[in-house]
Amino acid sequence: MEAKRPLLLRLVEDYWGVLLLLIAWELWVIANRFNPIVMPTPTAVLNDLVSYPQVYLRNVGITLLVAVFGLVVGMLVGTGLAVAAWFSPIAAGLLNPLTVLFSSVPVVALIPVIARLLGYDTSTVLAIVVIITFFPSFVFASSGLRSPPPGAEDLFRVLGASRLAVLARLALPSAMPNLAIAFKLAAAHAILAAMVAEFLMGTTGLGYLFAKTKSDFQTEQAFGASLVATVISAAAFLAAGWVEKKVRERYA
């Protein structure tokens, strides 16, 4: 347990990089006398954020909902397929190279293809988030399921446990830390992927807000949308890191 540090010191110690970046941005815009249409200052962006909360809140709600729902479905499908591969060596043999292949694919390049297939609406955004979160959860769940503590699998076999019992009592619990890593990787990306998809298709949510305000020269609001997305995504990353730590303490 570390001693409580004063708030200001903690702020500077933890966020000196971010603060430096924001100050440099502010000074750079003022020094160059940029038109706010081209490049607003961070204070102007913040001001816009406070002035029109309802615009942001509505779009954040949509994007967040799609991202969370997609994250859950993607992780369930990924873990489910990993369990299928764990049960059957044939399924594992068929699936493994394909997932390695796909996990090295730039998924953003697939967005236009998926949009053409499913149409330009929210279900496409959802599909993209599912695909993005599916790969890490499948890859990490597979390797977690196959690495129980040494000797444990023999013990289960000696005690006559069924395959299902081994899965529920041994393989799944030992895969939990790995799943938590997959969750951490996927959580931050889910919201960003949703935003790129919304931006490309111009449907709803934060990405749409960004695209629309950018083309209407409301640059402050466009950057406001990005700022909100940055904060949510960073918070998701840090929160998922905390969940990962808890899971590791519980299961490892």
């Binding site: 933890d14 081209v38 068929l94 090295s104 730039p106 960003l192 940055t230």
Partner: protein, 245 residues
């Protein structure tokens, strides 16, 4: 042997399903048969178009990859050598990684030129992955090794160059492998903001003009390039692990 066979079978089933779905128009006209896409890719008349686009994207990706790796290495080293800066640089990296890449585009467009925006977006993606992998790699040297170096009179900097940096090479190389697809994605997104040519431009134009087969060609080019370099980097990773691991 059996695994290799099953793997090849899995990929073959996937490709066959692609062709059948395309031929039977099961998913509508947006899903062309594989053979049509390959035919267009092999068409000599279109070769200059693909060559120009791929060349531009590869150049941006390579530049972003180099810059991002350098920045990630330097920040990780600085944070490692100056512990008070460590927490702040972790947060900075996490926040930078959380900035939506579509927001990075317009920012770099003001700071840089249209031509160098793709490389800049790509470098941010690479920076985060390299920073995270190097930071954890630098901590891999065991306390026993560290003590030995201290006892033998090595100063902080010498210990860094001779012990900690070599110990971080395997995780650096793993990071480099994972960073490649991310670099390519960054370059493609960066190109959407007015780059004169590139795979990203090809994808956007084909998507907006309903040139379905051309769209798939561009996607296949991106995927193929990604896989090729990913494979190369996997080989490099194996070599690094057997030498430094």
């Amino acid at each position: 042997m059996k695994q290799t066979f099953l793997g090849a079978l899995g990929i073959a089933i996937f490709l066959a399903a692609w062709e059948v779905i395309g031929r039977t128009r099961l998913l509508g006209i947006s899903w062309p048969p594989l053979s049509d896409v390959l035919e267009m890719l092999g068409d000599p008349g279109r070769l200059p178009l693909f060559e120009r686009a791929l060349g531009a994207t590869l150049q941006s990706t390579a530049l972003g990859y180099l810059w991002g790796t350098a920045a990630g290495l330097v920040l990780a080293a600085v944070a490692h050598l100056a512990p008070p800066l460590r927490r702040g640089s972790d947060r900075l990296a996490a926040v930078l990684n959380s900035v939506p890449s579509i927001a990075l585009g317009p920012i770099f467009l003001v700071v840089l030129t249209r031509e160098s925006t793709p490389a800049a977006v790509s470098s941010i993606h690479v920076f985060f992955i390299v920073f995270v992998s190097v930071s954890s790699g630098l901590q891999r040297a065991t306390p026993a090794h560290r003590d030995l170096f201290s006892v033998l009179g090595a100063d902080r900097l010498r210990r860094f160059w001779r012990l900690e940096l070599p110990a971080a090479v395997p995780s650096l190389v793993s990071g480099l492998r994972l960073a490649w697809p991310a670099a390519l994605i960054g370059a493609i997104i960066g190109e959407w903001f007015g780059a004169p040519r590139g795979i990203g431009i090809l994808i956007i134009n084909a998507m907006q003009n309903f040139q379905i087969v051309l769209l798939w060609c561009a996607v296949l080019l991106a995927v193929g390039t990604s896989l090729f370099f990913y494979g190369l980097l996997t080989l490099l990773e194996r070599a690094a692990y057997s030498k430094f691991g």
